[in-house]
């Protein structure tokens, strides 16, 4: 174990002895996300650097503290990218935080080979668990069914199972051309249209509806994009304006995301009906992601999300002391509880950021 890793292991062992909770925090770019955590900070940024990158293997292994910007710049030089277009939310973002938060950007619901969330591109991961053991899951190859797929389980785990110290990812070639089309459509019509387009073989790589403006991004080879644009109609945006729009959406610097109103994230089936919760909305992922600015109660918003077949997260703002995420069904909660107990028997990583563990009142942290 190299020095930085050994230091993390030592901090975990010390926390176990003192029975205090740790909260894992690198650059802090996603501090806003989840329930307000407790515990002393464990900063894994000493464990950093790209371990291996073979462009012809479409695979990259990288240590957790590596800046996300460095990872993307490395891929860019070889004409490749992270397919899931992760938001950075600031220059301090690390790849470890990207994996632990599991947040994907506009390309999440694209067609073709770039389809998928963060977990869909994870090939392997290393984890320092609550016993400070270094575990290694998956590997560097695309197809790997040896053992349970714990590497993917770590995506979005918010550190509850331990510190993700390294991850290997499948990367994809960048598209030769990206262009943006704009349409004027009301919400219900836009949702209908997005789902109808989704059933056709079109190179749509992102969509966004806001204030009766629907934007589509097309990605692919020159002839493919040109043919799809001709078929879809609408008006073409300037190349630079289009790229800026998707970047603002990815990083939530678009004006919709400014201001103090609580920001809710509703993840629903793409074909779900309009929310009808009466406030400003921005829709992504072909209808499957609905951002809502609303002061309505969590109960009201979650009831609507549930009725539509999805769930709601209080993404930014509001009361962040508890219940940021939709409570789990009892059977799922029991499995959660047991998984945490297996990987972290002394509840070192029970920072409360995702869900509080049962019986955590005994904790001194």
């Amino acid at each position: 174990m190299h020095d930085a890793l050994a230091a993390l292991a030592e901090q975990i062992r010390a926390a176990a002895l003192e029975r205090t909770a740790l909260r894992i925090r690198a650059g802090g770019s996603k501090d806003f996300y989840g329930n307000s955590p407790r515990g002393s900070v464990l900063d894994p940024r000493g464990v950093c650097g790209i371990v291996s990158y073979e462009p012809t293997e479409l695979a990259l292994a990288v240590r957790c503290g590596t800046p996300l910007a460095e990872v993307e710049a490395t891929l860019e030089r070889e004409g490749q990218m992270l397919a899931f277009e992760p938001p950075h939310y600031g220059p301090a973002a690390t790849i470890g935080g990207c994996i632990a938060s599991g947040l994907a950007g506009p390309r999440r619901a694209s067609s073709g080979y770039s389809y998928g969330g963060v977990r869909d591109f994870v090939l392997g991961a290393k984890l320092l668990d609550g016993r400070a053991q270094l575990l290694s899951f998956g590997g560097m190859v695309m197809k790997n069914v040896a053992g349970y797929d714990v590497a993917r389980l770590l995506v979005g785990s918010l550190g509850v199972l331990g510190v993700i110290t390294e991850v290997s990812l499948k990367v994809v070639p960048k598209f030769k051309l990206e262009t943006t089309l704009q349409f004027t459509l009301a919400e219900a019509a836009a949702l209908r249209q997005l789902n109808a387009w989704g059933a056709l073989p079109l190179p749509i790589s992102a969509s966004a509806w806001h204030m009766d403006r629907l934007r589509l991004r097309l990605s692919g080879s020159g002839p493919a994009v040109a043919a799809a644009a001709a078929k879809l109609g609408g008006e073409a945006a300037e190349l630079a304006t289009g790229a800026q729009f998707w970047q603002a959406l990815r990083e939530q610097t678009h004006p919709f995301f400014s201001g103090e109103l609580p920001l809710w994230r509703l993840s629903v089936p793409s074909s779900a009906a309009p929310l009808e919760l009466g406030s400003e909305q921005l829709i992504e992922w072909g209808g499957a992601l609905r951002w809502l600015r609303s002061t309505r109660t969590a109960t009201e918003i979650r009831a609507r999300a549930h009725a539509l077949g999805g769930h709601a997260t209080l993404y930014r703002g509001g009361d962040r002391t508890r219940d940021i995420f939709t409570p789990l069904a009892p059977g799922i909660a029991a499995i959660h509880e047991r998984l945490c107990a297996q990987f972290d028997p002394q509840a070192i990583f029970d920072s409360g950021r995702m869900y509080r563990r049962a019986g955590d009142a005994n904790h001194s942290g």
């Binding site: 073979e54 462009p55 012809t56 293997e57 004409g79 999440r108 619901a109 067609s111 073709g112 080979y113 998928g116 977990r119 053991q133 290694s136 899951f137 590997g139 190859v141 695309m142 197809k143 790997n144 069914v145 040896a146 053992g147 349970y148 797929d149 714990v150 389980l153 995506v155 979005g156 785990s157 070639p173 989704g198 059933a199 056709l200 073989p201 692919g220 080879s221 020159g222 002839p223 493919a224 043919a227 993840s267 089936p269 793409s270 074909s271 999805g310 769930h311 995420f325 939709t326 409570p327 789990l328 069904a329 059977g331 799922i332 909660a333 499995i335 959660h336 047991r338 998984l339 297996q342």
Partner: protein, 491 residues
Amino acid sequence: MSESINLERQRQVVAALRTTLPENCVLYRDEDTRPYECDGLTLYRQVPMAVALPECESQVAQILKLCHALQVPVVPRGAGTGLSGSALPHAAGVLLSMVKFNRILDIDRHARTATVQPGVRNLAISEAAALHRLYYAPDPSSQIACTIGGNVAENSGGVHCLKYGLTVHNVLRVRALTLDGEVVEFGSRALDSPGLDLLAVIVGSEGMLAVTTEVTVKLVPMPQLARCIMASFAEVTDACHAVAALIAAGIIPAGLEMLDQAASRLVEPYAHAGYDLDAAAVLLCESDGTPEEVGDEIEHMSAVLRQSHATRVQVSNDEAERLRFWAGRKNAFPAAGRAAPAYYCMDGTIPRRHLAQMLLSIQDMERKYRLQCPNVFHAGDGNLHPLILFDDGDADSVARAEQFGAEILEKTVQLGGTISGEHGIGVEKLDQMCSQFDRATLDAFGAVKRAFDPSGLLNPGKVVPTLHRCGEHRTRRANAAAASFPDLPRF
């Protein structure tokens, strides 16, 4: 080596099963249970104590509850096409056959999803969705027979997963029962769910964590056009370099498969695919999408293949020809079945850059074990399927085939790969799990198992080797190494 059944225990369990199932849904006589003694991996056989054939979810829940109460192991099974013995029965257990769960519950054209029972065949989903010009992307070679429940258990792949992903990328939701008979839902029709991504662990868990009763899959639009290139190479290494060159050129083919000369010669008389039998290797390279996309990509791929010293580049002119190109690849296993009394299909995945080295090592092993081993494989993702041909009526031939297979698996680990790309661990690769993973990681797999199934009764003895087994495996390997090089000092 089949264990015998405890008849008194069998009477007790059968009587209990009959309290929830009709008489014809409980099998226990040897002639009735014998067909279930193995899955697609016929090297391992064990007759189950009883077979249960439930017809609805509440019956499954009842069976699980009573097995929990009686402490009886339960082994779930779909079509039994699995290739690693994941569905190998337990001598003291109930084999839970899910074949009667064969209904397609819903095809939602607008949302592009299909919700089906686990016993629905993979291909049946695409056939039902074809009306809407949609299909289910993962297409394992056994797709006419294998079930979606089995695909979920094994995280099945297929020839198009380089572009469209494996089962894990195409399943949105699994409804299941835990061993204590409780209903749980993993995932949903939305693209994510709150909490830990348990669905990612359920897929590929080889029926050890929960019993699937319903699956919602993603459907994707049928491409307007697909065309396939068949390229010949005089050297296997050229073909392997061509694979890397295609990826380096920024192309993700819809399928990228290789057959070595032995494999082409094996399948050609059977499938009449038109393969170049003088070529050392044949690459099948597919493009799909809009006509504009495909036209552009085929041109680009053909140029890369020629630069990579392809001796012949032939592009399919119509759908019939494209299907003919694929017919050979897809029928490789039945062709092997015709060419030898038995074959043993391996499944390691290695980094693509080591493909040529691996194929040369396999040629050496062919001589060492005096067995033939044609290779067909998913070149695009480095997933090899060496087919070791042997005589299952000859104990010596069987032993050599098993050693040959084990050596291939050890080699995949050495090359930085994995012992299974898509067929699973089951009972077949328990020993090699000891080579690929350290003890702490194997124990973590055990921890995952306990979190989902604290009783340990669901499909026990698969995937995760015991400490004892790994100890024996290490001793055997050390002894074999010592026997190979008797003069080398050992420290």
